[in-house]
Amino acid sequence: MSGVIQTSIASLHDVELSTLAATGERRAFGELVRRHGSAVRGLLRRMGAQAAEADDVAQDAFLAAFERIAEFRGEGTFAGWVKRIAARQYLRRLQRDRRLSALSADEGAEEADPAAGDADHRIDLDEALKGLSAAERLCVSMCYGAGLSHGEAADALNLPLGTVKSHVKRGLDKLRTRLAPSDGTALEGRRGNG
């Protein structure tokens, strides 16, 4: 019987599941966690969180999302909504532990591996992000992973907008090089960027 219910829940759209969850249906919310848990955990790790911390924050973010599920009206994706909650929770944790200011001051903490700039070395996003400084990584992940605007990221990070923009730009430049496919598209991209 519960298997039948589980199957019918699994066939529902995220918005339908969130509507059900808003009535207190925890199995519907469990299905949403099943669908988007990895995306949220992945984002937090990409923002620079260690595995255990990323999982803690992701759990807290899902619990917070369940409490506030009535606020989700399906205007964006559920994954995007939870990712923004998770990103803000992670930043709050960094601020609480006074790690954010240290992180903002930390320019170019990790030097890019020269070999990684070689277009013949195709690497995945997670590897490519390791070549960014902590601040660049955080800003790029927030803007392209959590879907925050530069202004929202600046507010959340309590940094000037210009600083966030320059972190994003430097991060994108490094990623463009590191994620370059072997056909030289990245070089074209760099030329196109001026």
Binding site: R26, F29, G30, V33, R34, H36, G37, S38, A39, R41, G42, L43, R45, R46, D55, A58, Q59, F62, L63, F66, A79, D124, L125, D126, V140, S141, Y144, G145, L172, L175, R176, L179, T185, A186, E188, G189, R191, G192, N193
Partner: protein, 124 residues
């Protein structure tokens, strides 16, 4: 244009969730915490109801309710007899000023208490 293409590509890469071997365990941990929260809430509501009931009952007993009720009944009877000589339309006044009135007040107090408890539970 290439810049925009790269940004789109980056968004797509970010949107691809990594595969975690322990993703099922993660879901179970979240569900467990959800259930724990609900269980705690149920216990809290039950405990609040029990405490409210005990306090309400003790207050009723300590306020010599039954003695007051008898006195009120007697007063109502005397008042009712007096008023019946004045006019038959004063039945309602008589009822409210006596035992019925007190029961209505108790009922209203219970409703108010129930409302207050439900507000507290909502806040929790």
């Amino acid at each position: 244009m290439a810049e925009v293409d790269f940004e789109r590509r980056l968004e797509r890469l970010f949107a691809e969730p990594p595969n975690f071997p322990d993703s099922q365990a993660f879901v179970e941990r979240v569900e467990r915490r959800l259930n724990r929260g609900w269980t705690a809430r149920r216990w809290l509501i039950g405990a609040a109801g029990l405490a409210g009931g005990v306090i309400g009952a003790s207050q009723l007993l300590m306020s010599n309710l039954f003695q007051r009720f008898e006195t009120a009944q007697h007063s109502a009877k005397v008042l009712g007899q007096g008023l019946s000589h004045v006019s038959s339309t004063t039945d309602m006044v008589s009822a409210l000023s006596g035992g019925y009135g007190m029961w209505i007040a108790v009922g209203l107090a219970v409703v108010t208490l129930g409302f207050a408890v439900s507000r507290v539970i909502e806040e929790i």
